[in-house]
């Protein structure tokens, strides 16, 4: 069973538009990690959330973790073509901290 579900699976937006990607866990997680991957390249670490209700921002990307620590959202404001890629959420759980389980990823295309 998939412990982390990401939605949507893919997204096409017009440049300048805002967008949100969601990551939902079936159980309370320990830490939630967001990564970006360009085709054929490694994963770029964006941010990590650990406290319920936590919110972090990096440039135009904001990620939040809900109070129950079961859902995170990644929000991009005024999207740019440079934001295109695959966004992956990963999480570890109290029973197995350090061992990240990943969602299936969300492919983002930004049309100029």
């Amino acid at each position: 069973s998939q412990e982390l579900e990401q939605s949507p699976q893919s997204l096409i937006v017009q440049e300048g538009k805002n967008l949100t990607i969601n990551c939902t866990s079936s159980k309370t997680l320990y830490g939630l990690y967001w990564y970006k991957q360009k085709y054929g390249e490694g994963l770029i670490f964006l941010m990590m959330l650990q406290k319920g209700g936590e919110e972090k921002s990096h440039e135009k990307i904001t990620a939040k973790l809900d109070e129950k620590k079961q859902q995170s959202s990644l929000h991009i404001t005024a999207s740019q073509p440079s934001h295109a890629g695959i966004y992956l959420c990963g999480a570890d759980f109290p029973s197995n901290t350090g061992k990240l389980i990943f969602g299936q990823g969300t492919t983002l295309q930004v049309k100029p």
Binding site: Y35, G42, I44, F45, G90, G98, K99, L100, F102
Partner: protein, 113 residues
């Protein structure tokens, strides 16, 4: 500073041969992870080293897979008697400890012919 490095970047091997993939973690990082990314399969956890603790090998798909971490730094993932289904990108990551950002290397693309 230098990030996680992996070598080789690409490896083509014949079915049945053994391969070794290398990972150099970020200096000072005590935790090291191996993942596999196959087309359409997502990222699959393989093995995790933390300091001097026994590694978590729960993700290794078969006994043909093994990994070592020498001196708490460099790690080698070995695949014996490679099969076509082993073809994937093998990614290594490291972190300061269990908690904290996990930084990935560029990966090794393994193709078994």
């Amino acid at each position: 500073g230098a990030g996680v490095s992996q070598s080789p970047s690409n490896k083509v091997t014949e079915k049945g041969k053994d391969v070794e993939l290398r990972c150099d973690p970020i200096s000072g990082h005590t935790a090291l992870y191996w993942y596999r990314q196959s087309l359409g399969q997502g990222l699959e956890f393989l093995i995790y080293f933390q300091g001097n603790s026994a590694p978590d090998k729960s993700g290794l798909p078969s006994d043909r897979f093994s990994a070592e971490r020498t001196g708490g730094s460099v790690s080698t993932l070995t695949i014996q008697r490679t099969q076509q289904e082993d073809s994937a990108v093998y990614l290594c990551a490291s972190s300061l400890g269990v908690v904290g950002g996990k930084y990935f290397g560029p990966g090794t693309r393994l193709t078994v012919t």
